[in-house]
Symmetry: C2
Subunit: 227 residues, 2 copies
């Protein structure tokens, strides 16, 4: 469902070139649960942004659900994202002026879901991540870990084919992390494909495959028994 061939992402700052991705090839089959690890600055978020159709590689090819992504227009990309992907951003990217429920409803608004069903599904997703008592809070009325959980609820409310999560437990205490990973496990067993960036071995242990990145390249890629 994810096929990346030789992706390079290069930035020019002044006359210094930084290769955030330096020739990455990756194939993820439907239904896999993959963890991506690696040092700070090794290219994990850049790779996630390419997979999530949020960023175009400088060179290389990317196909999502069989469709080559490189040629598509901005609205076609937005469409593909809404149909297939759920994305938990490393820095959450919530809308500051709207409540938790409204933030979580957003993918459903885009997808044309009716107002009553939208609210029911958004509330249900927020309850799943333990935020039933924070529905009408805006992001600046929420703790860091609560904001992260709103971002998670928003990523799963559309029942995406592929869930992409960049450090989804970074701001969570261990008990809440376990609850979120149990939720991901449940979604995976129901058929979702999951790619998660994490620094924490305890979180990576839930995956069936671990990819380690270094300096914009894939260092290792191996299967494991998920916890």
């Amino acid at each position: 469902v994810i096929q990346i061939d030789d992706a390079v992402k290069s930035y020019l700052t002044g006359d210094v070139e930084v290769r955030a991705l330096d020739g990455v090839s990756l194939r993820v089959e439907e239904g896999e649960f993959v963890a991506i690890m690696g040092a700070s600055g090794s290219g994990k978020s850049t790779l996630m942004n390419v997979i999530g159709c949020l960023d175009k590689p400088t060179s290389g090819q990317y196909a999502l659900a069989g469709q080559v992504v490189s040629g598509l227009s901005r609205s076609e990309l937005a469409d593909i994202r809404n149909r297939f992907l759920g994305f938990v951003f490393q820095q959450f990217n919530l809308l500051a002026r709207t409540t938790a429920v409204e933030n979580v409803e957003l993918p459903l608004v885009y997808g044309g879901v009716g107002s009553r069903e939208r609210t029911e599904r958004a509330v249900s997703a927020l309850v799943k991540v333990g935020l039933g008592s924070r529905l009408d809070h805006k992001p600046n009325q929420l703790s860091g870990g609560q904001q992260q959980r709103v971002a998670i609820a928003r990523a799963i409310v559309n029942r995406p084919k592929v869930l992409l999560a960049d450090e989804p437990t970074g701001a969570l205490d261990s008990k809440t992390s376990v609850e979120v990973m149990a939720l991901f496990q449940e979604l995976w067993r129901a058929g979702m494909t999951i790619v998660i960036v994490t620094h924490e071995p305890d979180v990576a242990a839930y995956a069936a495959r671990i990819i380690v990145m270094r300096d914009g390249k894939v260092l290792s890629d191996r299967a494991q028994n998920p916890a």
Copy 2:
């Protein structure tokens, strides 16, 4: 150096009252290294904001370095913060339009330090956190962990009496976390008072005292042998 008596922080959302702090008393002596832990939403960042003079409690008293903070004007508070405190925010709070070096120079600009010395000290702080090759990058040209390290460099560049760090290793891989904690340990041994919020036991292990919060209260407060 930190004396909090019975602090309450109460928010009214609609007609629901949320007590982010529900009667917290705390005394930290100069030269201590304290770790604050607790579940997501338990009041850790709220407590840090009160200690950092960024937020006034609804009721209760706070004295920093012997001076009662409650009566002070906004500019007097800004002054006290610049003189005594370094703050690493949970969400970094970097200035988006300026480079890493300029962000780190900010406390020195406020403190009236000359331009040449400012740049030298900012560069030196950034090199200490491993960002010597990212000096002229703006925040959106940095990875999550790199942004966090810029926030750390900014907090220590002024050689504050008290370093307050809210989840300073949240976005860092284990190797970089160890480097940052070793830096904090070095600063502590040279006399800095450090209060750090963390979810990670490995990070809390560096402290000499652990405070656990729950539902806006202090659940436990005990000394330990620092690692």
